[in-house]
Assembly symmetry: C2
Homo-oligomer: 353 residues x 2
């Protein structure tokens, strides 16, 4: 059986057909998060810390670390990303014990992350682009780590799933030339938005099955892409993840956290409550208010996608005796702390070659 | 392509690999519903009427009608069920326009339902039991209707999926001897509770795929069986349905309605609200209270399973351009009234042979 082993100093996450789904938390990434980018430039890591803790509490078993920020003070990421990557990796692994996924388009940042990470991190990513293959595969070999392989190449992202399969196959073959085994390649078959391409779901399910049966590799994806541009994105994601798991997908890069209710929503609800003639006691705090009126929580919580994944773990017989499902439904936080959705307390730290 | 056509006087529901999932509402069934059974014995059909309307509003495209009640006044269902079946069929088709599924273990009730139903109802069910085959298949032929085939036989329900597949194959062959085509057989591969059998999900997914690929038949199941005995059953069902659809399942017999909040829950919440020092305006009605405090609704609504099914319709490319998904997320009731989750406004009423 194909097993991809990812490790921190003390914990192991295994991607495999007979393993619980591996949830790779995507939040530590300044791309498209202006506020976070500005904080990082100012040396403020409080959001990174919060995101690390919240994602692990929600059930992430690996954390993706992307330091892809463009500073106002220095627009050259080749200079700024490597030290920032090192800093964030050190910070996060001092805070939580899950394995990391080192994510960058800047080669220097990949190497900085690999140097800083304890254990056996996942590298994110190689593509079928010639230059990228030549840059990344030697790093994969040197550090003896598994790598995410995204199925686009120098011609771009093909809409034809057969072409994307062929690109994945090429990457696996090129990796083999470097002495990297197929079980250390985690293919991302690329998820298109279903709103733009009606066959996007069917493509992914068919590709995942082929990748598993013909190449014997584990798979991952940016799960939320599927629902881009459509209403009720969570509703689509919640169905997509179990379907992908049923087809054989073994991990996803995603946000496991349900975002806390916003101040705006609280204010709107308070106005509606007042308009209905309901009188609140003086000094009621926001968390009590939010819970009493069914708005969720002011604190980040495990998202509905995590419920869907845990149910699918049960349905694919990757939750023996339903133990995790029962624990999760008693107390989501406790279950996550036990590494429910794919984590294992690792004894065996594997030394790199 | 395999298409199973079920019709009322004015509406058509099609089961097929390239059709939206067919939701067969299961609520009109006194089995295990003592209150409903007593009402029916007393000639009170108000619950049946409510269940019919609520299920169609929630998105059911076929309604199952089971009159399996044992009267206190007459314990012989062979005498009581046929007239009750006729009565309920007439009542329901006077109220809603979706096709019906005539469901009974009593042969006389099956025939009474077939006589009373307009259009082309689905018959529920035949099994691989010798006596049942000889009783039901002639009815299927005589009335030219499709039939649900449950994959157990005289030896009972096998835990071995290969045996269940063989039973389904036998039923299809026996039906062919009667001149009944495979596209009029809807196989129920039997869903076991995952809490009792860890491989129950994998069995169903593999069986559905085989039934589709090797026998070319449509499939259905009692979907909620999968979660029997476990906590948060809806969470399991919500993942199971998309996974089954991904494997090729084309319908399910299920409850599409989220039950309204109970008086008990309302009373508990009112106590909690008072304890928190919140003062309600005098005469606030229950529906306003329930909505204001995020308890849902006092009225029946479309259940979360319907959201999962609609998302899976989109992901299997059976919701062209996401039209139904977008409508549903604007206004669930309007979408259901348009026959969203599998219904079609039928022009062509097909006359029986």
């Amino acid at each position: 059986m194909t097993r991809t082993v990812v490790e921190s100093k003390t914990k192991t996450a295994v991607l495999g057909f007979d393993e619980p789904f591996c949830v790779i938390g995507e939040r530590i990434n300044p791309t498209g998060r202006k506020k976070l980018a500005a904080e990082l430039e100012a040396g403020d890591f409080s959001t990174v810390e919060k995101d690390a803790l919240a994602q692990v509490a929600a059930g992430a078993t690996v954390l993706d670390i992307n330091a892809g920020v463009v500073y106002n003070s220095n627009p050259n990421p080749n200079e700024t990303e490597p030290p920032l990557m090192r800093k964030i990796v050190e910070l996060v692994q001092g805070l939580v014990d899950v394995p990391l996924c080192i994510d960058s388009s800047v080669p220097g940042a990949l190497e900085a992350g690999l140097e800083a990470a304890e254990g056996r991190p996942l590298l994110n990513s190689v593509t079928g682009e010639e230059e990228r293959l030549e840059l990344v595969l030697p790093l994969v070999k040197k550090y003896n780590v598994p790598v995410v392989a995204i199925s686009n190449d120098d011609t771009g992202i093909s809409e034809d799933p057969d072409v994307r399969f062929a690109v994945a196959k090429t990457i696996v073959e090129r990796a083999a030339d470097h002495g990297i085994p197929a079980h250390d390649i985690v293919v991302d078959p690329l998820v298109m938005p279903i709103g733009a391409m009606a066959t996007a779901g069917q493509q992914v399910f068919a590709l995942v099955r082929r990748l598993r049966e013909e190449l014997g590799v584990n798979t991952t994806c940016g799960a939320s892409n599927i629902s881009f541009g459509l209403p009720n994105r969570h509703g689509i994601n919640n169905a997509f993840l179990p379907m992908a798991m049923g087809a054989g997908m073994t991990s996803a890069i995603m946000n496991p956290v349900a975002l806390p209710v916003t101040q705006k929503k609280i204010a709107e609800k308070k106005a509606a409550v007042a308009a209905a003639g309901i009188i609140l006691p003086e000094g009621m705090d926001d968390e009590t208010f939010v819970q009493m009126f069914g708005l969720g929580s002011t604190k980040p919580r495990s998202g509905k996608e995590m419920e869907a994944i845990r149910a699918a773990n049960l349905l694919t017989n990757n939750d023996a005796h339903g133990g995790e499902w029962i624990r999760f439904n008693k107390s989501p936080d406790e279950a996550a702390a036990g590494g429910a959705a794919g984590g294992r307390r690792g004894g065996g730290r594997r030394r790199r070659a």
